[in-house]
Amino acid sequence: MAEVAENSLPADDQTSAPDGHSAPPTGGASDASVTENTPPEFDNELPTEPTPDNSIADEAMPEAEPVGEAHPAVTAIMNDRYIIDGGRPIPEMDTKTSKAYTAVDRQDQSEQLVALVCSRGAPIRGDLLKQLKNQSTRGMLQVIEWDAIDWPPAGGKTMCIIYERPLGGRVIDSIAQGKARISEYDVVNKLIEPLIAAISSLETIAQPHRSIRPGNLHFLDAARTTIVLGDCCSGPPAYSQPAIFETIERCTASPSGRGMGTSMDDIYALGVTVIITMLGYNPGRDKSLGEMLAIKLDRGSYAAICGNARIPISLVEPLRGMLNDDEPSRWTTEEVRAWIDGRKRTPQQRKGQPKAETPYIFASRPHTSPRALAYAFSRDPEEMIRTLKSDENFDSWIRRSLGDDDLADRIKFVMEQAKLTSGTPGADPSVVSARICSMLDPRGPIRFQRYAMMPDSLSFALPTEVVMRDNKQLISDLIANEVYESWFKVQERNPPDHLIWHRNFVQCKRYLGIREPGYGIERCLYEMNQGLACLSPVLKNQYVTTLRELLPALDVTANQVDSEVRPLDRHIMAFIAARFDEDIQPHLRALSSSDEQRRTIGMLSLLAFIQWKTNVSTLLGLTSWVGGLLQPAINSYHSRTTRKEIEKAIPQLVRQGSLPELFNLIDNAEKRRTDDDGFSKAQEEFGAAESEIQEIESDDGLHQSKLLRSGQKITSMGAILVSMIVITVMLISEVF
């Protein structure tokens, strides 16, 4: 049964749409590419429903270009060693956030490599890459190298990950082509055992794989004896996973919001992978996500995924263990290993989910589980509010059928509160819907509008939604309206992780509340994802992930941009604020000033500060660029002579490439004080002269009368003087 041949696949499976996209919003090219390269029977997401409630499951993945598209003229070199050949794509290794190409090691051309060129702006798992690089991990493709490369088809510099190339190709392709077979006797040694080894290795470094699915399994050797897991680092965790490989909690989350999860999520995905690989098709292919969720909640994941398919009896126990919907009861890696080693376990009894005695009809569909109802509610918040306002049966359904008076009271309170605070953001249907959905499904994702995210996914969800999917407003509203609070409030337990996740949301809300440069959604992006490259349009041809790389990148950019463009925009300022350990609040305040002089000096000061702190040596291009923008700062001096002196000195300092020196010239304290004092004196002199002129030129007669009095005084003094001279002369002549 486990032998899979191409002709054994049901015809409808081979033609079903990949990813479950009946009408992909991102265009046919992307969808077609997925169709071309991804065998539908394995990698398709759950089929879509013809109703509006399908979009969470069917979030289309924006891709930079069609999968497998060759770029014959494009060749990139990484670290002067690895040559990535754009003319030789490897479409079967593409992911939703990266394209695969053949790579060659200059130092060892016999080594066959594959390069995954990531979509520009896609958040990669840098922490995991650092730990996996050059480490041979059983059950995983080895990461050889990773770095940014110039890749024009991606729109500039982008991240590229070099893996060793799996020589046997993709497992599902080999099986479909009859080149390999995995029998029920092989499945443990060939599939489960190496994958559990990989999951265990990753578990030791607290990093789950989150991309375990049949389409991401490869034969490492040409003989097709060793199966390894493919890439998991080129995008957000579980971003490329079809929803069926996700647990009940995470499957209704949007792809970018599925979260990091744990190795327990990998175990679950492994269980689904084993079933689908053995069966050769997806048993739930004809069900929508909502239907599959309802079945999972009703009968459990194992029964929902297997359906009526025949599973070898020896695998029933481990698969039930791996697909246990109660996470604490799910098999761990040790338990799977123990089973592989032949130690028997007591068969697990499935824990039932809360279930109503009678169904509640919403959107023309019956719902017996509050968790499934929460999912249905989240698909149409406005209809949910209308229903809850008008339908008295809902309250009685919760109280009687679910037997949960507390839940009914809390929902009633939320509705009444929304009624009282009508018109406020808190009473918005989306927010109210989110609160009620969290109450109905506390373990599910945070649901807002038509987006859903697990709280541990914030660091990857932000860049994915803001940059790749242009959903800036949605994610901003989710945080600004404190939608996350309702999720944290309904949790029965509050482990330390929850506190960290909550702190991250609160931090983001604080940044969003500040409109000034250096804050806002851009700051959230860089604070939450320390590995994210700066997304400034100014740096579109650069890949900057650390502060030390920023100034050299700007230096290179200086010759490629319009000299009128300022080197610091909102993205770069937020990037600096997130990556710089020093206090730059005064700089940010100056940069947000409406006064251009202050903005210019703030820009120069900040760049100079960074150059000094990061010990970056000569920056000729950037200094020249900044030097050309300093006129407003030079104009902050009053003295024309000082201005001319500064203008004369700038070219000389530009040739030194030192921003601190340039800053010293522009904002010299002594020079500034002298200028201020001189200007004050000049103002006083000017005022005194003006007063005197006004006095002289006044036409009120005062000046004339003053002059007349002066004339009279002079005349009288003259008369006295004349009389004294005459009398003296007379006396002298009389005496002598």
Binding site: P586, A608, S680, I727
Partner: protein, 187 residues
Amino acid sequence: MARSSKARSFIVIWVSIGVVGLLILALPTVFVGFFGMAPTFVAFIVDRTREKYATFCVAGINACGVFPYLLDLWTGSHSINQAVNIMTDPFSLIVMYSAAAFGWLMFITVPPVITSVLGVMAQKKVSALRTQQRKLIEEWGESVARPPSNPQTRSATGRPANDPGRVEMRDIGSEKPAVPEPDDDAA
């Protein structure tokens, strides 16, 4: 108040003693002086200004006309007859009073001329001040013509120190002083 009135009384007493003494010792001189300087006394009464420039002007020239006759009196017979002879001589009266008239004429005609000269000098000064202002504007810009808002503590950007939005340039580069000099780098 009482002290000033007492002082004034003393002055009056001493002036009276002086006048009486002068009348006893030099009556002819007093006689010629009193009648010869009569225009000056008139000028003193007519001149209502505080400075009494007209009085000084008339008195100076009037004295020039009276003094020769006083000299004759002092060098000749210092008698009341001689004094009466002088004062009854029309020529001597014409000399004395013409001198006083000349003093008045001077006071009327000379000040306007002096005023005109001073006016020309003032215009020259205005021109010099304008030139000085132009030079200040050339060096410091048009803003130098504005009165200083707070001359002691203006920032480089012209914001007063008490402006809450003001950021000192020193604040912006608060860490800047530690920027290594090129020599330090070389070291």
